[in-house]
Symmetry: C2
Subunit: 261 residues, 2 copies
């Protein structure tokens, strides 16, 4: 009989392996960000940790909902644009039917459905077996500069960093039904450039975190484990294509196993 | 002999009481934000908690430093404007010598010292005596919507919420030494309006947190303590003038005590 943590971990790993474009999870995107896969596999290779959610960092343009509160996410709030891939940010605003040169909404902000441009950095949630492991993972994340990390209930560690942009760029013109934009195309282009810098910094920090966790996992295996003698099945950085192929194989294998169960 | 937590707490309380415009602390502003004082006193009235740092929420305009990294805070980075008071945001941009209508910097963002407009919400750090207290405070903060809260090392709880704005508005023109602004005055006015809404939401959440902690503190005193029978010296919401007067009295008293020691 497995202990409760290991049972829970097995269940999560099954879900991760089965996840794919034909088997979406509950997140808005429905699949795990590819940039997160190496660190997810690394963390899950440790017997006392399991990843429960992740976002590798993203650019999004969000139309607020109709609810009477700030940055309303419910009630018809919707993503106008979202990507986790730096390359896909190129000229994104040319694909949106913005009405440039719009005036600013005259009513109070609460009455208007604003449009926000956001850059959000990597966030990882990791469930740990015990207090010691959660404390170690927390300290490790902090030492890599993930200064907004914290431990929650039941040894769940949130790994967070404050690389961000949060910029009002327009609003929904209720008369025309169009996206009114009160900043120019040149400003949107500049925001996109800044976001590319932030993506770069974000991935640099992700790599730093990966390396630190790799060292931690190696140390947990037994004293003195180094990159020379680490287990061969430990995940390393891989190309997008390699990741895709591996994930597909793993998913098929897992689904086969689930079917057999 | 006091236990280590109580010793540490007494030391922090002395520093808080002695803090004032003629006795600055290590923070950029040098004094504790007045909006935080009621909740600081409330938290510190609990024997197992002590506040270690706080910001009640603020609007700031920041010129990045010269270091070769994102949003550099060192190397000549400086605040162009900062306030914790909603009323003081009024027409703030008229006090800054902006050059409007500037072009965007052509070089990579790393080479340019950007100017960022920020709204940051309440943040509180609370050191707790033990794991149980930190877990309870964490859960309480999460239930009030402070969803980015977390427990750090040594039972330190960070209480955080994601109400924010983070907007690039200009850069330092190295040729003229002036603050080049690539958004218009009307946009800055709109940002300021949005910030006032965020301040309102921020103080609403602060009040909600205060009420929840008050209930928790009352519960810790003994079962069944209600607002009718709570101790008379428990702090409640007070006006700016009342707060100022009380703090002055407490500070004088504390300094008198320190002198006698």
């Amino acid at each position: 009989m497995q202990d409760p943590f290991t049972q829970k971990k097995q269940k999560i790993l099954s879900e991760i392996s089965a996840n794919g474009t034909d088997n979406l999870d509950a997140s808005p995107k429905g699949t795990i960000d590819e940039h997160c896969l190496p660190i997810i596999h690394l963390i899950n290779s440790h017997p006392d940790m399991v990843t429960t959610s992740s976002c590798s960092g993203r650019v999004s343009v969000y139309l607020e909902g109709t609810q009477d509160k700030l940055v309303s996410k419910g009630n018809e709030g919707k993503w106008i644009f979202v990507t986790h891939e730096p390359a896909e940010t190129r000229d994104w605003y040319k694909t949106v039917d913005f009405e440039y040169g719009s005036r600013f909404p005259s009513a109070a902000a609460y009455g208007t459905r604003g449009i926000l441009y956001k850059f959000e950095a990597l966030i990882l949630h990791v469930k740990c077996r015990d207090l010691q492991t959660s404390n170690q993972l927390y300290s490790l994340a902090m030492s890599c500069g993930f200064r907004e990390s914290g431990i929650g209930s039941n040894f769940n560690v949130a790994i967070r960093i404050s690389i961000k942009l949060d910029v009002p760029i327009g609003f929904l013109d209720e008369d025309t039904g169009k996206y009114a934009c009160f900043v120019g195309e040149e400003y949107l282009e500049y925001l996109t450039k800044l976001s590319l810098d932030r993506f770069e910094e974000n991935f640099r920090k992700l790599k730093q975190l990966y390396d630190a966790i790799e060292k931690y996992v190696a140390g947990s295996d037994g004293a003195g484990a180094t990159s020379e003698n680490k287990p061969k099945d430990r995940p390393t950085w891989e190309s997008k294509e390699e990741r895709r192929e591996r994930m597909m194989k793993e998913g098929l294998k897992r689904r086969e196993e689930l079917r057999r169960d």
